[in-house]
Symmetry: C2
Subunit: 248 residues, 2 copies
Amino acid sequence: MVINPPLKQSSVLRSKYDPQQRITVAVDCIIFGFDSEKLKLLLFRRKVEPFKGSWSLIGALIKNDVSLDQGASEILYRLTGLRDVYLKQLKTYGAVNRDPVERVISVAYYSLIRINEFDLKAVEDHDARWFDLKDVPDLLLDHGRMVQDAIRSLRLMARNRPLGFELLPQLFTLPQLQILYESIYDTKFDPRNFRKKILSLNILEKTDTKDMSGSKRGAFLYRFRKNSLDGSSMSNGEFEKLKEVIQF
Amino acid sequence: MVINPPLKQSSVLRSKYDPQQRITVAVDCIIFGFDSEKLKLLLFRRKVEPFKGSWSLIGALIKNDVSLDQGASEILYRLTGLRDVYLKQLKTYGAVNRDPVERVISVAYYSLIRINEFDLKAVEDHDARWFDLKDVPDLLLDHGRMVQDAIRSLRLMARNRPLGFELLPQLFTLPQLQILYESIYDTKFDPRNFRKKILSLNILEKTDTKDMSGSKRGAFLYRFRKNSLDGSSMSNGEFEKLKEVIQF
DNA sequence: CCAAAAGTGTTAAGCATACACCCATGC
DNA sequence: GCATGGGTGTATGCTTAACACTTTTGG
């Protein structure tokens, strides 16, 4: 319940809050993608002033009858045609002068998508490009900060739950999974230790087919075990372990 | 940069965004306090309809010329007289119908304060009460959810950085610190293991004075080492270790 | 036959856990 | 002198980290 000066709860009683105080609210999306080689970020180039030519995240104003989560989903849907994209609210940026046009509060979300699964047409229509995380250019407004915050959050999250669900195709190889984690943490892991750790979690199922695209020998395909995360199929001890998943 | 339908960047060019789409924005504060015995939550009782008698978080509408962080600080300042309270943005709640009076987006913050350091007058003026975390009553709107989210975030945060800074007085005893962590995680720790872990982090300085209030024998007072967290005074190895602080 | 990527085991060190008794003091 | 809370050490198992070679196969 909102309370404004004087800091008395009686002020909350008005049937409508002060319309003078309404603020423009936007959603901005940090879109991470993985193409089995590198973790990438989708950026959009402004075609007009101000900031013409600058790279930017994609966003939209929030209408009064749309929730924040819906707003973010819609951006992703219009862009990718995908409905069930993973979206996580990152943080809300509320500095008064962050947008020179007008005071805008922006709620940032980040999403994880499989690059191969959506067509590049939509991307090209928007003058967009995938960037390696290392090559992210300067972004307009506070979007650079948003991206930094999103990467930090992604890393934090990746040690608590296996993100492969969202970023990898249904069937994937252990080398791919390793590359994904190496991209996220910008480091290298020992393949023996990586496999040992991942397999000990009992969240993967090995298939008997191989992916031959990455090497001559081929690499076995795995899939994530459904329900491996809701705990119902696990003892307590295993579940506790899971919470510390992937702490290399 | 905000973009609204049509999803074209050219729409961003307007000098002013559509004023029809402005939304009422509020800040709500989850206030955690510690009194050397239990971790508590400060709640406020509504005196008027709607929701008369319900317990609630404290909040305020955000004015167009005030940042979110400032808005949250001001609430805390008016309430406690303290200027440098720890405040962390938790999450933004944006469901369309979360407030029956009007569509309001609420940015939730949580703060950590030392209960003993501010006067209860301010609290009593607001018909407020400290609740043990276990006894939190039903709250109005989605405030209950906010509190649950804040507790989860607090626990997550407490394993990455020592929160004692914010919740304990400058000088404190190890038993107090242990009780604090036990409150946060709602569990018990072995005192030998707890001390070993905490002291191995090199973030505490022992003083040669004792606090005699808790026992006949008295317990040595400690303080947090300044700069123990900015990494400058530490080797890389130690800093890495710190990032995993307090993972009981 | 060789280049390129996939796959595999062992050891040592560090960390977390479990556990029980003495100490200092006020009353 | 006893009740109360403060303070201490050790042994065990587990997790992590470091490390190098063999396998498969397409070209």
